[in-house]
Symmetry: C2
Subunit: 128 residues, 2 copies
Amino acid sequence: MNISDVARETGLPAKTIRYYEEINLIKPLRDTNGYRLFRVSDVHKLAFLGRARALGFSIEDCRRLLALYEDQDRASADVKQLAEEHLAQIDEKIAQLRSMQETLRHLVRECAGDSRPDCPILRDLANG
Amino acid sequence: MNISDVARETGLPAKTIRYYEEINLIKPLRDTNGYRLFRVSDVHKLAFLGRARALGFSIEDCRRLLALYEDQDRASADVKQLAEEHLAQIDEKIAQLRSMQETLRHLVRECAGDSRPDCPILRDLANG
DNA sequence: CTTGACCTTCCGGTAGCTGGAAGGACCATC
DNA sequence: GATGGTCCTTCCAGCTACCGGAAGGTCAAG
């Protein structure tokens, strides 16, 4: 399979697939003309990566997950730990965003949003 | 005031303050020895920027907010629109993260997390 | 006069790609 | 076999919002 077929099948941009090869997440073969030649296993890995990325795992986490996926002797505890740490980061990120959200909602609600210069949002930013 | 004083007062790293000058968010004076010389107005702007950044506004949004802040003839509607658009982005981001969070929570809950290789997390990543 | 704490600029790196240029390859058609 | 359009390749630059560190100037104290 050529890269555009793989892109279509996995939903990943060709650029991203090349990038994943560059950072050694996948190692597709090469055809005689220099074109990348993807095996079914490469496509599987890419789909795996796409889903892991969609769950917000970093590239390095993805690398570890892929290694665990390929290791028949893995302990599910290792996978779980990775996932739990990532989940904790997501929790934290959500908490941060919610705090911003709440503050902003307040400010937006109090702002007249008309043609006059007086603005509680700017007042808050200016004076803390 | 020198940069380290300003850093202490605003809570921003000196590196960040220099960066903000580089991208023309602030224009501190220069002392004869080449040191940056910050006026009170510079410190105010930096504090403003720090709070806007803490609310998640992008640098370009901060630039616009600062311009509005300085424009005595602004319309609060312009500020409000900026804030509302940003708020919408935050809402979206939170929704995305919550979706990841939910999926991950499910998977983590179902994973034994022991020494055996069988793992629902990897199964999900592998098969969608 | 030296020491140490400042300050300066410049360069490189981070994450995870994306866009674009320059050039080769392939396929169908005339 | 020339042409055109669509693939493919590599390489280079840029995005966000900085951070780290090196090399070197400045300043105040002892």
